[in-house]
Amino acid sequence: MSPTRREFLKTSVGTAALASLATCPSSLTAAVGARRDSGDKVLVIVELAGGNDGLNSIIPFEDDIYGRSRTTLRLTRKEVLKINDQLGFHPALKGFRRIFDEGHLSVLQGVGYPKPNGGHDGAVMDWHSAQPHQTNRQTGWVGRVIDSREQLDSDFAPAVVVGQINRPFCLNAERTIVPSINSSRDFVLRSAGNTESLSDHHRRLVESAEPPRTESDNPLLDIVRKNQLSAYSTSRRIDEVIQKIPAMEGHYPQSLLAGKLHTISQLIRAETGIKVFFTGFGGGGIGGFDNHANQRDNHAALLRQLSESVAAFVDDLKRQKLLDRVVLMTFSEFGRTLKENGRKGTGHGSAAPMFLAGGKLKGGLVGEHPSLTELENGGPKHHTDFRRVYATVLDNWLGFDSRPVLGDGFAPLDVFET
C-alpha cells in the first residue's frame, strides 16, 4: 500500500461515508468493480398468494351475469374506476389506475392454463414449475433460466428472494444458489461500522483477501478469492445506497409489500446485477387472497396494498431514472369462481388477469375480458397461457431464450414498446 493511501485511510476513519470507501481499495474497484451496463434489465415477480379474485380486480360491471352471480360482492358502475364502458378497476386500485393512465401498467386478461388445478398446492406448483400436470418436477422456471447462464459467477447473484418465509419453488435450480434476504442490509458485509476499530476490521478483511496467491496455481482458490472481492465491492455499493437514501424514501406506504419493493429498489440502484427479484404477499390463511368468506373488505385491503405499493415503486424508479430497466409482474395460482358461495366469499376458480408494470410497456388492456358464460372450475376460462407471459418477459425483456425453459409453442405477447 502506498504511504499516501495509508495516510488517507488513517484520516478517513470516523465518518461513515469515508469508512465505507476505506473498505474498498482503489485497486480492487479497478479489478472487479466495472459498473453494470445501464441497459441491464430487471424482472420483479410479485406472487399474490392464495388465489386473487380476478373478477373483482378488473370488473365487467356491465355484464348482467356478473351482477347476478355476486349478490353481495358485486361492484357497480358507480363504484369502479372505469377503464372503458365495460370494464373498471376495483375502487381500491387507485394507484394502478394512475400508472395505467401514465402508460406504465399493462393488464393481461384471461391468463391461465389448460385443465387448471383447483387445489392451492397443485396450482402453485404448476405456475412455479411452468410444467403443469407433470410428475417429477425438480426445478422452477426461473431456476432453469439462471442455470442456463453461461457464466455462473458473473453476477452478485442472478436472482434473489425478498422477505419470504418459505423458498418459492420457481427459483429452485439444479446448480445455482439463490439467496433469500429480508432487507438490503443482509447484503452488507457485517462489521461495517463507523468506529475506528470496526472499520480497521473491515479493511483487514478486504486486504487479506486481496493479494493474488502467487505461489498457488489452485483454480479453486482463485474462484473463491474473485467472488469474495466482488462481494465486498457490491456490499460497499449497497451500503452507500442505504446510507444515502434514508428508509422508505420515495413515499412508500407503510406496508409489508411496500417495504419489500423498497428493498428491491435499493438493490437495483446499487447496480448489483441481480436480474430477477421474487417477492409476494397474501397467503392461504387469514389476511390472504383465499377469501372463502367475507371477502369484500379483506380483498379491498389487499388490492389497496398491492396498488399503492406498486405505484410507489414505479414513482421511485421513475425519479431515479431506473423505470425503463424494470418490469414488475404479478401472478396468482388461480382466480376465483364467478358465483358467490353463500358465505360472502368465492371458491377456487381458474383464469385471472396478470399485471405488468414498468417504463417500457405499451400499457393498456391486453386481450379480451374472458367470457362469463364459458367457465372452467366455476371461473372464467383462460384464453392466454401463462407460459406465454413468461416467454414474453424472458425473450423480449430479459433476453433469455425461453424455449429450453418452457418448451416450444409459447409465443411472446406484444406488450413492450419497440
Partner: protein, 460 residues
C-alpha cells in the same frame, strides 16, 4: 511420473501412476508428516479438528489416525441411539425443521464425525425432498437408514433404500400398480444412483418399472400387494427373466458402471474437485469395490493413499456450508445453537433434508457466488460475535489461553495454526496480523473472523 514431483499437481492427470496413487502414504523427509497434512486429513475425514486432535494426530501418524477416524473406540452406537430417540420425539411435527437441529447437533458432538460426513454424502446421493415426502418420521428413518450403512455396504444400502417409504413417496412410487408402473423411481436408480446417463436405455427403465410394481406405501408402511405385481418376463440391461425388485438391484450392482460412478463421486468428496480422475486411476478401485461393496474399505483406501496426501488433493475441494461452519465450531471446541444454524446453512445453499433436486447438491464451485461468499463472511461474524444470535458460544481467546497463548499476537498466530495450520502466504499472513491491538478479547474474535473468511479457509 508424478510420484517424483511433490510440490504441485502434475499438469496432466494421466501421468499419475495408479499403482503409486493408491499405495499407502509413508511419511519421509520429502513428504513429512506435519500439521498441514494432519489438518487436511481432519478436514476430509471429519468436520475439522481442534488443537488437541491435531497434536495427537501428529504423534500417532497417519495410519493410526485413519483407523481411529474410520472406527473410533467410543460407543458410537449408544450415542446415535440417544439421538435417534431425540429425533423420534420431534417427528410428530409435520416439518423437517424439527429434525435439522438434531442432525447438526450430531455432527457437532458425534464421536464418529466421519460417519456423519458419509451420511450427509449419501443424503446427497439418494437425494429426497422432505417437502415432497411430507412425513417427518419417514424422513428421520430414511436418514437413519443411510447412517446405518454409511460406512457399511453399498449393496445393503441400495436394497434398503429401494424399499424405503420416504424414497418411494419422493419418487411418486407410493402406489405402484401393474397398470401404471412408476418410471421415476427406476430412472433415479439408473441415472443418478448407480449407472449414470449413457449406461442404460429408456427400455431398461420401462422394464425395470414393471419389476417394481406391487409395492405401495400405506400409512407410512411399505406393503407388497401381489395382485399388483407384474410377474411377466422382462428384459433389463441385457438380461431376460421374470425379474422383481430385488433382481433389479442385483442387476444394477453387477454393472461395471455402478462401482465406477461411486468411485468417481467419492473421489470428488475425498480427493479432488478440480480434475476428473483418469479411467486408469478409477478402475483398480472400482474393481475392488465391486467385489464386496464395502464402503469403509474404499474410503479407508482413499484416505491412506499417496494421492490423498499429495498436492493433487490438498485444498482441491470447496467446503460445503456444513463443512465451513463446523470447521469453525470444531476448532473452537464448543457447540452452537443448532436451530439457527440450520436456517443459516439453508441461506448458504445447504438445507439439510431439502437438497435442491434429486441430483443432490452439485457442490464444488457451485457453492460459491458473490452473494454466498458474503453470506459466509456474515455467518462467521455472527458465530464469532460475543452476543446474539449465537450467544457468544465460540470464544477464541479462551481456546488460545487454554493452549498457552496469552498475548495478542501469539494468540493470533495460534489461530492461524489451528484453522489453516499456518499455511498461508507471507503477504496474506501480514494482512491478517498487521493492525493495532487494543481490547484483546474483542480483537481475537475479529482476527478469528478474518482468518475463517480467508479464501484459503473456504477450501477443504
Amino acid at each position: 511420473m508424478f510420484a517424483q514431483n511433490e510440490t504441485k499437481p502434475p499438469p496432466d492427470m494421466k501421468t499419475i501412476d495408479p499403482q503409486w496413487a493408491w499405495s499407502p502414504y509413508q511419511p519421509d523427509t520429502r513428504r513429512p508428516w506435519n500439521l498441514a497434512r494432519a489438518g487436511h486429513l481432519y478436514r476430509r475425514a471429519a468436520f475439522g479438528a481442534d488443537w488437541n486432535q491435531l497434536q495427537r494426530t501428529l504423534d500417532e501418524g497417519p495410519r493410526r489416525t485413519i483407523e481411529r477416524l474410520l472406527a473410533p473406540q467410543a460407543d458410537v452406537a449408544a450415542f446415535n441411539q440417544q439421538f435417534d430417540r431425540y429425533e423420534t420425539s420431534s417427528a410428530a411435527s409435520n416439518s423437517t425443521d424439527a429434525l435439522r437441529p438434531w442432525w447438526l447437533m450430531r455432527m457437532m458432538q458425534s464421536p464418529h464425525p466421519l460417519l456423519e460426513k458419509m451420511t450427509l454424502f449419501w443424503h446427497g446421493h439418494f437425494a429426497l425432498s422432505g417437502a415432497k415426502v411430507k412425513n417427518t418420521r419417514l424422513m428421520s428413518r430414511y436418514v437413519q437408514q443411510l447412517r446405518g450403512e454409511a460406512l457399511g455396504r453399498f449393496d445393503s444400502m441400495l436394497t434398503a433404500l429401494s424399499h424405503d417409504p420416504a424414497v418411494l413417496l419422493d419418487r411418486d412410487a407410493g402406489a405402484n400398480r401393474k397398470s401404471k408402473p412408476c418410471e421415476h423411481a427406476p430412472r433415479e436408480l439408473m441415472a443418478g444412483t448407480c449407472l449414470g446417463n449413457g449406461n442404460f436405455s429408456e427400455k431398461d427403465i420401462q422394464e425395470a418399472a414393471r419389476a417394481f410394481t406391487g409395492w405401495f406405501v400405506l400409512k407410512g408402511q411399505v406393503r407388497f400387494i401381489p395382485r399388483e405385481y407384474d410377474s411377466d418376463a422382462k428384459q433389463i440391461l441385457g438380461e431376460r427373466g421374470n425379474f422383481n425388485d430385488t433382481d433389479v438391484v442385483r442387476l444394477l450392482l453387477k454393472q461395471p458402471a455402478t462401482p465406477r460412478l461411486l468411485v468417481r463421486k467419492l473421489y470428488r468428496l475425498l480427493i479432488s474437485e478440480t480434475d476428473e480422475p483418469s479411467d486408469a486411476i478409477v478402475e483398480p478401485l472400482a474393481q475392488s469395490f465391486a467385489a464386496e461393496y464395502d464402503i469403509a474399505a474404499l474410503v479407508g483406501l482413499m484416505l491412506r493413499s499417496n494421492l490423498f496426501f499429495s498436492p493433487v488433493a490438498y485444498r482441491r475441494r470447496i467446503k460445503s456450508p456444513v463443512e465451513f461452519t463446523l470447521g469453525i465450531v470444531k476448532g473452537l471446541e464448543a457447540t452452537v445453537p443448532a436451530v439457527r444454524l440450520g436456517r443459516d446453512l439453508a441461506d448458504l445453499g445447504q438445507n439439510l433434508y431439502e437438497p435442491p433436486t434429486s441430483a443432490g447438491w452439485p457442490g464444488g464451485r457451485h457453492w460459491i457466488n458473490p452473494a454466498t461468499s458474503l453470506a459466509r463472511a456474515n455467518l462467521a461474524f455472527a458465530l464469532l460475535s460475543p452476543k446474539k444470535p449465537y450467544e457468544g458460544k465460540l470464544d477464541p481467546m479462551a481456546v488460545a489461553q487454554k493452549h498457552g497463548h496469552q498475548t495478542g499476537e501469539a494468540a493470533e498466530r495460534f489461530l492461524l495454526d489451528l484453522f489453516l495450520q499456518g499455511d498461508v502466504e507471507t503477504t496474506v499472513r501480514e494482512a491478517v496480523l498487521k493492525h493495532k491491538r487494543s481490547e484483546p478479547s474483542q480483537e481475537l474474535r475479529r482476527t478469528a473472523h478474518i482468518i475463517v473468511s480467508l479464501p484459503e479457509f473456504q477450501l477443504a
